[in-house]
Symmetry: C2
Subunit: 450 residues, 2 copies
Amino acid sequence: MAEKWVLMVTAQTPTNIAVIKYWGKRDENLILPINDSISVTLDPQHLCTTTSVAVSPAFTHDRMWLNGKEISLSGGRYQNCLRELRARASDVEDEEKGIKIAKKDWEKLHVHIASYNNFPTAAGLASSAAGFACLVFSLAKLMNVKEDHSKLSAIARQGSGSACRSLYGGFVKWIMGKEENGSDSIAVQLADEKHWGDLVIIIAVVSSRQKETSSTSGMRETVETSMLIEHRAKEVVPRRIIQMEEAIKDHDFPSFSRLACSDSNQFHAVCLDTSPPIFYMNDTSHRIISCIEKWNRFEGTPQVAYTFDAGPNAVLIAHNRNAAKLLLQRLLFYFPPQSDTDLSRYSLPSHVDFYCWKSVNFNSLKSIFPLCLLFSSYVIGDKSILEDAGVHNMKDIEALAAPPEVKDNTPAQKYKGDVSYFICTRPGKGPVLLNDETKELLNAETGLPN
Amino acid sequence: MAEKWVLMVTAQTPTNIAVIKYWGKRDENLILPINDSISVTLDPQHLCTTTSVAVSPAFTHDRMWLNGKEISLSGGRYQNCLRELRARASDVEDEEKGIKIAKKDWEKLHVHIASYNNFPTAAGLASSAAGFACLVFSLAKLMNVKEDHSKLSAIARQGSGSACRSLYGGFVKWIMGKEENGSDSIAVQLADEKHWGDLVIIIAVVSSRQKETSSTSGMRETVETSMLIEHRAKEVVPRRIIQMEEAIKDHDFPSFSRLACSDSNQFHAVCLDTSPPIFYMNDTSHRIISCIEKWNRFEGTPQVAYTFDAGPNAVLIAHNRNAAKLLLQRLLFYFPPQSDTDLSRYSLPSHVDFYCWKSVNFNSLKSIFPLCLLFSSYVIGDKSILEDAGVHNMKDIEALAAPPEVKDNTPAQKYKGDVSYFICTRPGKGPVLLNDETKELLNAETGLPN
C-alpha cells in the first residue's frame, strides 16, 4: 500500500422542511424523538450541502472544514456518526489507483471532511440536516458501508435529528421507533419528488434582530416545562401523521395545507408554552401568515400552505405554478425590497448567486445582507417564477396592485426591508454522488481544502 | 307620583387582570366558561369605569351613552343584564324627593345609562369588564336589587364574562360552575386588596399596527379548532387554580409569578394553536417578556410577573416597591419615549391626565397617541414610582444605565416609540357608590348626559 494516496468521494445532499414537526427528544444522546414527523425534501439545486470526504494513510487525525473554516470534530454528534460508520465499513479497492483498504484498516485510518452549504448557514434553513446527511452519505460511500438509506438515516439521525429525513428525496417520514437503542428510529420515503411535481416552494428569509434559541436547547426546555407537549406528541401528532400520509398519497392539497399550517402553528404554540417561553416567529412571520390565511379564505380553498421552523423564515408551499406566481406577487407587494436592492441583476446565472457565498463566513443575517444586495438579488433560486409573475425590476414591483382580498377602503400597509430575500424552489431529489472533479472540495493530492 | 322626577345613582367599578386566564365558553349566550379563572382587581383610581343610571317616568325608552356617545342597547348582552335586573328589582322610596316606585313598576319604567372609562377604551385594558360590572352594580343599587355581589356577578357575567370578577376588590376567583342555567357560575373574593398590599402593577400600553381579533370571536374559534384547549381547560387549569389560591394566601411571590407567566403564555399558545392562528402579542410584547425573564433569572428569584390579555399590552406585577422601581428603570431604558414626549409634565395633578380623555372618542391607539403627548405624559397613574426611580425628565431616561443582567459586550438595543405609555397602579378595591354630585354623568333634571 503506497503511503501517498488520497481516496476521495464527493456528494450532494438536500435539506428538508417538516410539514408535521419534530419537537422533543426522548433520548438526548441517540436523538430519539417523541413523535413521528413528515418532511418535504427541497431541490438541492437551490438548497443543498456538498461534502467531500477523503482518506489517506498520510492523515494524522480526523479533520473537518465547514464553509472553508476548520471546525472541531470532538463533539459527541460527530463522534457518534464516525464511530457508527467505521463499525460498518467494508473492504475498499480502487484498481486504477492501486489502493486497497481492508475492513479492519478503517479503525486506524483518518478522514478529512470538507463541507459547504449553497445557502447561508445562519439563515435558519436547516443547514445541519443537509450537513449531517451529506457527511454520513459520503463517508458511507467512501467506506463502502453496504447498508441501505434507511439504515444510514439512523446514523445521520445521531448527528442531527432532522438529518435522517435528508437521506431521501420527495416526501419522507421519520418513524420515531420504539427500541431503546434507536435502531428502529429511521426515515422512510413516502413518495418521490415526481409524485407531486406541481408543488412550488417559496422561502421568505426574514430579517431578524433577535438571537434565537437553538433547537436543541429549545426542545429540551419544552419537554421539561410545557404542559401541552405530551398531549401534542401522544394524541395530536399520531392522527395528523396518518392524515398527512393520506393527503400526500392523494395529492389532496386542501388537507395537506390544513395539516401543515396547523402543525406549524402548534409547534410554535408549545414553544410559547415553554418556560421561559420561546419565540421563533416575529411580527413579519405573523404578517406572512395573515396574508396567506386571508388569501386562502378569499379563494375558498387553500392556494398555499405555510410552515415555520425554529426561526422567523416562512416556507410557503404553493399548490401549483399559478398559485406560486400569485403568491410571489403578493409577497413582493407587501414586502418590497429596500430601494437600493439591484433587482435587475436577477438574470445572472443561478450558480453565481450561490458560489459567491462559499468563501464568506456568515455569522448573522445582518452581515450577509449587504453581500446579498451586491452579489445576488431579491428573488433567487428558480427565477422562472419571477418571470411568470411579470416582475423584472423595481418599477414592476411598485406597480403591483393590492390583492383582491384586501378591502378597498383600507390602504394596504407595506413592510419594506422586513424580508431579506426570497428563494424559489420545489420538492427535490435525495443524496447523489458527484463525479465532477471541479466540485471536489478537497485537493486530490493533499487532501486539504481547495 | 310626579311625572317630572329623575332618580339617579352613580357608581365606580374597577377593571381586573386575570392571572389564571379565562379563554373559551361552554355556553355563548349565558357566557359560561370552560375553566375557572383568577384575577387581580386594579386600583380604580387609575383604571375604572364610572356609570350614572337614572330612572324617570319621563323616559320613553332605555338609552345608553358610552364615553359621551349614544350606543345601542339592543344587543343580547345588554338585554340579558337589564332583564335579569328588572326581574330582581324591589320597591324604592326616596322620601326627600317624594318618589315611590313599586316593584312591579320597574317593568314599565325606562332607564338612562351614562358610562365612561378613565382610560382609553380601545387600549385593550378590559374596558368591557369594568363597564358591565358598573352597569349591573349601579342599576342594582337604583332598582334596590337585594342580592349579594356574587349573585350580581352572575348577571354581570352575562354582559361580559370577565366583568363578574370586577364586582370585588383584591383577588377574585370566577368559579365556572356546573349548572346549565349558569346560576353557579359566579365570582368570589379570595382576598381583599389589603391582603397583599406590597404588589405594584405597571402596565405597558404597546403601540400596535395590527387589527386584533375580538376576544369573543377569538375564544369561539379556539374552542372550535384548537387541539390543545381541552387539555388546558380540563387538565392544566384546575391544578393551577389550586396552586394560585395557595400562592395568594401565602404571599408566595415566586409561585404566583411562575403560575401567572406560564398561564399567560399558555393562553397565547392556544390562541396560536387556533385555525386561523390568533396573534395578540407582538415583537414588543416578546421583548418585554425577554427583559423580565432575563432579569428574574439573573436575580435567582422572580422580581416581576407578566401577563398579557387579548392584545399586545403587558401587565407587569412587581413583588414590591423596590422591584417596581427597578422594573420602571428597565422599561424606560429599553423603551424610551419618542423624543417629543413632554415627560416634564408628569407633575400635573393625576386627574388632569384622565379627565382630558373623557370627551374624546378613541377609535385606535394611533389617534390617542398625540393627545397623550399633549395632555399627559409617558408614565401616568401612581407617579411616585417614577420619583422612586429617580426619573424627572428625558435626560434622566437617557442617563439610565444598562441593567446588570445585560452582558457588557453586547450593547443593549433600544426600542424608542414601541410603547405608547406606562400606567403605574396596584391592586385595588371593588365597586363603590359615588355621592359626589360633580361626578354624575347625567343631568339631575333631564336625565340626559351632562
